[in-house]
Amino acid sequence: MKPVLEIKNYTKIYGEAKKAADNVCLTVEAGDIYGFIGHNGAGKSTTIRAVVGVLDFTEGEILIDGHSVKSESVECKKITSYIPDNPDLYENLSGIQYLDFIADVFRIDGKKREEVIKKYADAFEITDSLGDLISSYSHGMKQKLAIISALIHEPKLIVMDEPFVGLDPKAAFTLKQIMHELCEKGTAIFFSTHVLDVAEKLCNKVAIIKGGKIIDSGTMEELVGKKSLEEVFLEVQDEK
């Protein structure tokens, strides 16, 4: 079975010599919940932005369901969803107008979109606020809206940058449940996080990035063994 996401020798160089990502290789398969961890400025967001086709990159190849992000970006985006760490949504639209826009882009019919929006808006308890302007939303509400918009077209791959930041404990729990649900259906999830406890409990695979290089990766069992992810993370950060 071909992987949903395949990053091969991905390198991003800023300016003259600053390598934000250096020869990154990883594979995410259907049903994986893949955690991407590293300290601030390690290269997580740079990698994620390249995966979703927002950022151009210097070397390597990124394939989504066999399609190249570079040469078939629209095909890739049709089956991908992206939730940025700080979603820049259209502040002067209402929540429902924004969701309608995303549903229109993905050509989701009226009945289907109504069903999905209702399901997730109820789960995140923001149904009552969908008629309000996004500018009146709190950070957490915007994050919830961005999550709903990412789920609207049932993507094969969901890419999230720090998805738990700003979410209240209940919403974080709901998101984790949704992630499990989706992964059981075969959706692949690739997300960055600083919350190692969450990563340990949620992910079946994990990669640790430092200075733009993947310093360790594999299944959670392989990587952690009898230790905690936090211990492993701190050890490899100090060693390499």
Binding site: Y14, A20, S73, N92, S94, F101, D104, S135
Partner: protein, 530 residues
């Protein structure tokens, strides 16, 4: 095609004041939207009145046949320059780039839709000029119904070619500057170079059209305008289409516009992601070492923050500093030209001497300097970061004073430089020079405070794109348009009065009047800050 429509519809909806009005529950905000709407309607009418009156002028001089060309050139020039200043920010380096580019749109579609959005937003202004000039033309030239319908139809096409040209130049600028670490600064400098080159080109074209002769004014305008159609063919196509109903020119106008639209976005689309990636990436050097830190007064700290804010945004800087740049150029150039000849050329041979222009010198400088006041922009430009200054232990008045101090730092040196240079070049008497310098300073102060009143009164923090504040904001429009019209009127009035009464007295009266207006504006600002 369908995805383009979805995107354009969404871009328009997301910046629609009507949508905010409909959905907003804050009554104050609703009131502000209505106020802005009335302000815009007033400005719209002013622009139309200007168009109608200038056509009446041409009509009464028996030059009704030049109105179509004048309309084509006015709209084309306006569309070109306004787009040039907006390209970075609308086409490139915009806030929601990540969100849009992660959706299944071709890069070419995003760029094309952003352009069309820019076009649709500027359409009411372009059509107001076109409609006003059509009214003037209809009164004096009495064209047929088909010509009037064609005029209206082709008015939709008129701004597209210059806008495409400006967008393409903007693309080249973005592409070049993307290769530099300080891409903002490079973009600003290149934009300024293009603007200056365009102004120089205008004089070259004008002199070519005149073939070195300074003819009698009326003939001169007629000859110049008729030659402009050869230099800029789309204007000629428009004129031939509406005056002679030539089908070939109608086809050329529409066909070339559509073809260019397709062509321009091929290279733009190809390089779109690469350019935006570079423009939006801020690589960290990670080599900072702590040096001795300087402390500043609160006012200077705010002014310095404003300075850094300006340097960080190409859109803001190109719009805010263009007046200062023009004043600088004016000051330098005037020292090297024959003032008598320049006056004669600029007034197209009208009986105006340099002595008659003495009291107008500070106003001419102010025409450049007062074009934009940063104080009209910066209150809104705080946007989502407004909480930072709000949470500081300073009053609103202190904040505004800091913002005003920055505008004074920015404008006064350039205004004084240009005024002194003009006084030297025109050999003005010492007292007149002194009064001119004082008036220049007073005008800077007035512009600063009046700009701040407009900026605070029409503060809008919920913008999506800096352009909504810098170019399209109600504060800027309400500051700039009356300011420019009144300054133009004052220049004419002072020149006229200068022939009747002592020029130093005129300057003295102007100093008192401007100081009074500045004080009045400051009082208003104090009440707004309370």
């Amino acid at each position: 095609m369908k995805s383009s429509m979805v995107l354009i519809k969404n871009l328009l909806l997301s910046t629609s004041q009507w949508n905010i009005y409909r959905l907003c529950r804050d009554k104050k905000k609703k009131g502000r939207i209505i106020g802005n709407f009335i302000g815009y309607a007033f400005l719209y009418l002013m622009l139309m009145a200007y168009g109608v009156f200038s056509c009446i002028g041409y009509g009464k001089m028996g030059l009704a046949e030049v109105i179509p060309m004048l309309c084509a050139l006015t709209i084309s020039l306006m569309a070109f320059f306004l787009t040039l200043f907006k390209t970075n920010g609308y086409l490139f380096n915009f806030k929601e780039y990540d969100m849009l580019m992660s959706l299944p749109f071709e890069a070419k579609t995003v760029a094309g839709c952003k352009f069309l959005y820019m076009y649709i937003k500027s359409l009411p202004w372009n059509l107001s000029i076109s409609l006003a000039m059509l009214i003037g033309y209809a009164v004096y030239a009495k064209p047929g119904l088909s010509a009037m319908c064609l005029w209206l139809l082709l008015s939709f096409f008129l701004p597209v070619i210059p806008m495409l040209a400006a967008a393409f130049i903007g693309y080249i600028i973005a592409r070049i500057s993307a290769g530099f670490k300080k891409n903002n600064l490079i973009q600003t400098l290149l934009t300024f170079v293009i603007v200056i080159a365009c102004f120089c080109l205008r004089f070259v074209i004008e002199s070519l059209a005149k073939n070195g002769r300074i003819e009698e004014t009326l003939t001169d305008i007629s000859v110049y305008l008729s030659k402009a159609g050869k230099i800029y063919p789309p204007a000629g196509w428009f004129v031939n289409a509406v005056m002679h109903l030539k089908p070939g020119d109608i086809l050329l106008m529409t066909g070339v516009t559509l073809l260019l639209f397709e062509l321009v976005f091929i290279p733009v689309g190809k390089a779109y992601r690469s350019i935006n990636s570079k423009l939006k990436s801020h690589a960290a050097a990670g080599k900072f070492s702590m040096k001795e830190q300087k402390s500043r007064s609160i006012y200077n700290a705010i002014a310095f923050k404003e300075f850094r804010r300006m340097l960080g945004s190409t859109i803001y800087m190109t719009n805010a500093a263009i007046g200062e740049l023009m004043a600088l150029l004016l000051g330098v150039v005037i020292l090297f030209v024959d003032v008598d000849k320049a006056v004669s050329t600029l007034t197209r041979g009208a009986p105006v001497t340099k002595e008659m222009l003495y009291p107008a010198i500070p106003l001419i400088v102010y025409f450049c300097i007062g074009m934009v006041a940063t104080t009209a922009i910066t209150p809104s430009l705080e946007g989502k970061n407004y909480w930072i200054v709000q949470s500081l232990p300073i009053s609103k008045k202190t904040l505004y004073q800091g913002k005003m101090l920055f505008n004074m730092y920015l404008t006064v040196p350039f205004a004084l430089f240009a005024t002194i240079c003009m006084c030297i070049a025109a050999h003005t008497p010492l007292l007149t020079s002194l009064l001119s310098v004082i008036l220049s300073f007073c005008l800077c102060a007035f512009s600063t405070v009046w700009g701040c009143v407009c900026g605070v009164k029409h503060m809008r923090l919920d913008w999506e794109n800096e352009i909504e504040v810098v170019k399209q904001g109600a504060a800027v429009s309400i500051y700039i348009l009356p300011n420019m019209f009144v300054t133009t009127g004052l220049i004419v009035l002072t020149v006229f009065l200068g022939t009747k009464i002592n020029r130093d007295i005129i300057l003295g009266i102007l100093i008192l009047a401007v100081t009074f207006l500045a004080a009045l504006s400051y009082k208003k600002l104090s009440s707004l800050a309370a």
